[in-house]
């Protein structure tokens, strides 16, 4: 009987499914591919200030993650950034 009480409204299911499928659809179109590349470039720029990274192995993608609280699925940007070397931060003790 559990299904009877816990049943989500079908319109809510539709909304959740749409949100998810559109993330993929939008990411697949050229203008959004550009967006991913722009995010990639920006993040590489920031991280490179502190650590030396392997740019050829840099991965960025949209991913779906199952929520713990049965709230359905949510989307994340997943990145894999291999570090070559941590840069030696020179503390400017003076100023």
């Amino acid at each position: 009987m559990g299904w009877f009480f816990n049943r989500k409204k079908s319109s809510q299911v539709a909304k959740d499914r749409l949100k998810l499928v559109l993330i993929y659809d939008r990411a697949g179109t050229t203008s959004n591919n550009d967006m991913i590349n722009m995010i990639k470039k920006d993040i590489m720029g920031v991280i490179s200030k502190y650590v030396e990274i392997d740019e050829s192995e840099f991965e960025i993608d949209f991913k779906n993650v199952q929520n713990e609280e049965e709230e359905g699925v949510s989307s994340q940007i997943a990145m894999n950034i291999p570090i070559k070397k941590i840069k030696q931060m020179v503390k400017n003790a003076g100023k």
Binding site: K9, S10, A14, L18, R26, S31
Partner: protein
């Protein structure tokens, strides 16, 4: 909205042609000079929805190929002053016309008419490209259903890629009873997902079947709820600030009784 508007959706069967016919007739009822352009070459239907199928001599392809003058292909609707149809060819295909030629044709029409409404075919190929070539604004038609909303999103992206950013959403065939039960996407949910502004909501209405049977757009029928919704959208196109229909109330018990007596 701008004076050249493409009515599009991506998915077929959601009401592009019906909406084009109704909004065009609605604009003519408001005293505007309007031309409706059917770009669905090979699968034309705007002519039958308007009840003008028996009057076609020349079509859009004839104009583009120079077989006739633009004025010769325009069909004047005798019932509504100021309403004209430029029919699509039925025996050719979408490749018979190029986007550049459409652009030229539309700009010619624009000089003669207050409004140019372009009925776009389903799909995202040549037919779509032709339909949007000369457009400045777009009305994206969707029904509150997953596949249609998904396609609408794709279309909104493609419109933007074609330089059309004045995009408004028309939600068609809404059933307030199903929304109430939680079995149909609500207006706000659809808007949230697509992230565009609403131009109107057309409720599911049996009168639409009657009106397409007769070839008389529902917008002229004062006992039809969809007709009333289309009249409101027409005014919004013209820049008037018309409040959204309270479908909850209109489709409730008392709303139905009232409608019964207005017939």
């Amino acid at each position: 909205m701008e004076n050249v508007i493409v009515i599009t959706s991506g998915k077929g069967g959601v009401g592009k042609t019906t909406s084009t016919a109704n909004l065009g007739t609605g604009l003519a009822m408001q005293g505007k000079k309007v031309v409706l352009v059917d770009t669905d070459i090979g699968l034309r239907n705007l002519d039958v929805v308007l009840g003008l199928e028996n009057r076609i001599v020349y079509d859009l392809v004839d104009v583009v190929e120079g077989t006739c003058k633009l004025k010769q292909a325009l069909i004047k609707d005798k019932r509504y002053e100021g309403l004209y149809l430029l029919p699509a060819a039925q025996t050719r295909n979408k490749m018979a016309v190029a986007p550049e030629q459409m652009k030229e044709l539309i700009s010619e029409l624009e000089q003669e008419f207050d409004y140019v409404l372009i009925d776009c075919p389903a799909g995202i190929e040549r037919g779509f490209k032709n339909a949007v070539a000369g457009a400045k604004s777009a009305i994206v038609v969707t029904v509150p259903e997953v596949s249609s909303v998904r396609d609408a999103d794709r279309i909104i992206g493609l419109l933007s890629a074609n330089g059309i950013d004045d995009v408004r959403l028309l939600i068609n065939r809404l059933r307030p009873d199903l929304v109430r039960k939680g079995d149909m996407l609500a207006i706000d949910d659809t808007l949230e997902i697509l992230g565009v502004d609403l131009i109107g909501v057309i409720p599911e209405d049996e009168m639409i079947f009657r009106s397409s049977n007769l070839g008389e757009p529902a917008v002229t029928d004062y006992s039809s709820l969809a007709g009333e919704a289309y009249r409101n959208v027409t005014k919004r196109i013209m820049g008037e600030d018309v409040p959204m229909l309270d479908l909850e109330q209109k489709t409730g018990f008392f709303g139905r009784i009232k409608r019964l007596f207005s017939k």
